[in-house]
Symmetry: C2
Subunit: 210 residues, 2 copies
C-alpha cells in the first residue's frame, strides 16, 4: 500500500470499570502503528515511575509555563496537581505516521475535539449498568463507598457519551480491541484525511495523465 | 455479542475501472451480514436477467407511479429508461439487521445522503490517474474513444469525491474489501447508531441498577 501519511489522533475514555486499560494495552501490543501519549504532571514521581515513560515530570512553575505557552492539548488540575498532554510529543509521533492514543477523561476529550475536530473520540463501556457494578465489585479492592461514588460518576459521565464519535461496548476483550482498531484504521480513509490524495487524483485526471 | 440492531445503509460509487464490481462481489460473498440492493428499471429484461435478482422490472407507468408515491430512495433517467432504488426492499433488509449496499453513481448517492444523512458514502478509486487508464485499456474490450470518454467522466466525478465519507483506494483487492468491510462495521458503533443503547445505559445508571 501507499504511504499511510499522517497518523490519527484518538481519545479513548470510559467509565472506571470499563476495562479501558486492558483494551489499550492489548491494542498497542498487538499493532505497531500505535503510540500511547505520555502525560505531563506537576505531581512528584512515585517509586518505579520513569520520566518520559510514566509521565513527563514538571515543577508547578514549568507546568504553568507550558499552559501559558499553549504547549498542551488539554490539561486539568486534580487534587492540587496538574495533569496534561504535551502537544509536541503527540504531533511529532503523528508526523512519523503513528496513530496516537490518549487515554483521558471527558473534559480533556472535549477540550481537544474543540481545537482539533479531526480527533477521533471513542467511549468504552460495559454493556449495561449491572455489569459495570459487578466489575467494580468483582475487583475486590474497593470499599462499597468508593464503588458507590464510581457508579454515581458513571451516571454523570453517561450524559456526555453522545458527544463522542463512537461508543464501543467491552463485553469481550478481543472483540473490543478489534473494534477500536477498525474504527481508528477506518479514520485514515475519511475524505478529510485523504484530502491531498484527492487533490492529486483530481489534478492527474484533469491533466489527462495516461 | 448483543444484537447488532438495525443494519447500515452504504452507497458505494467509483470510477468505471475502479474494480467496484469485484470488490462488492467479494465483500458480499465473504460476509453474510450484507445484502445488495436490487434496482428497479423500466427497461426490458435482457436474456438471462431475472426478476427480483437482476432488477425489479417495471413498466414506465409503474415506475412513474413509484416516483409519485415516493417509493424510491433515488432514481435517474438514462437513455430513455428509468433506474431507481426501491425503499421498501432496502428498509426491510435493514430492519432484519442486514447491512445493505447500493452500488450507484454520484447523483443517486447525493440524493440519498440528503434524505438519509446516516447513509455511509464510500468512493472507490485506483491509486492514480495513470492506473485508471491502464485498467481501462487493459480490459481490451473498449475502443480508444470510449476510454477517452470514461477518463473525462472520471475527471468530472473526481470533483465530488469530497462529498463522500470515505475514499478507499483499490490497489489490492483483498485489502480494499477489508477496508470497506471495516468502514461499514465501524458505522455500527457511531453514537447516532447506538442512541438507544446510550439511552438505556444512562437510564440504568440513573436508576442505580446493580
Amino acid at each position: 500500500m501507499a504511504d499511510k501519511g499522517r497518523g490519527i489522533l484518538t481519545v479513548v475514555s470510559g467509565f472506571a470499570g470499563s476495562g479501558k486499560g486492558t483494551v489499550m494495552k492489548k491494542l498497542v501490543e498487538g499493532h505497531d502503528e500505535y503510540a500511547l501519549s505520555v502525560s505531563a504532571t506537576s505531581r512528584s514521581p512515585r517509586p518505579g515511575e520513569q520520566e518520559g515513560i510514566s509521565y513527563f515530570f514538571k515543577s508547578r512553575e514549568e507546568f504553568e509555563k507550558m499552559i501559558a505557552d499553549d504547549e498542551l492539548l488539554e490539561y486539568a488540575e486534580y487534587v492540587g496537581n496538574y495533569y496534561g498532554t504535551p502537544k509536541d510529543f503527540v504531533f511529532s509521533r503523528m508526523d512519523e505516521g503513528k496513530d496516537v492514543i490518549l487515554e483521558i477523561e471527558l473534559q480533556g476529550a472535549m477540550q481537544i475535539k474543540e481545537k482539533y475536530p479531526d480527533t477521533l473520540l471513542i467511549f468504552l463501556s460495559p454493556p449495561d449498568a449491572g455489569e459495570l457494578f459487578r466489575r467494580l465489585k468483582g475487583r475486590g479492592t474497593e470499599t462499597d463507598e468508593v464503588i458507590e461514588k464510581r457508579m454515581k460518576r458513571a451516571a454523570e459521565e453517561a450524559q456526555s457519551i453522545k458527544n463522542y464519535d463512537y461508543l464501543i461496548i467491552n463485553d469481550n476483550i478481543d472483540e473490543c480491541v478489534r473494534r477500536v482498531h477498525e474504527a481508528i484504521q477506518t479514520a485514515h480513509h475519511t475524505v478529510r484525511h485523504e484530502a491531498e490524495l484527492i487533490a492529486r487524483l483530481e489534478e492527474g485526471l484533469k491533466a489527462g495523465i495516461r
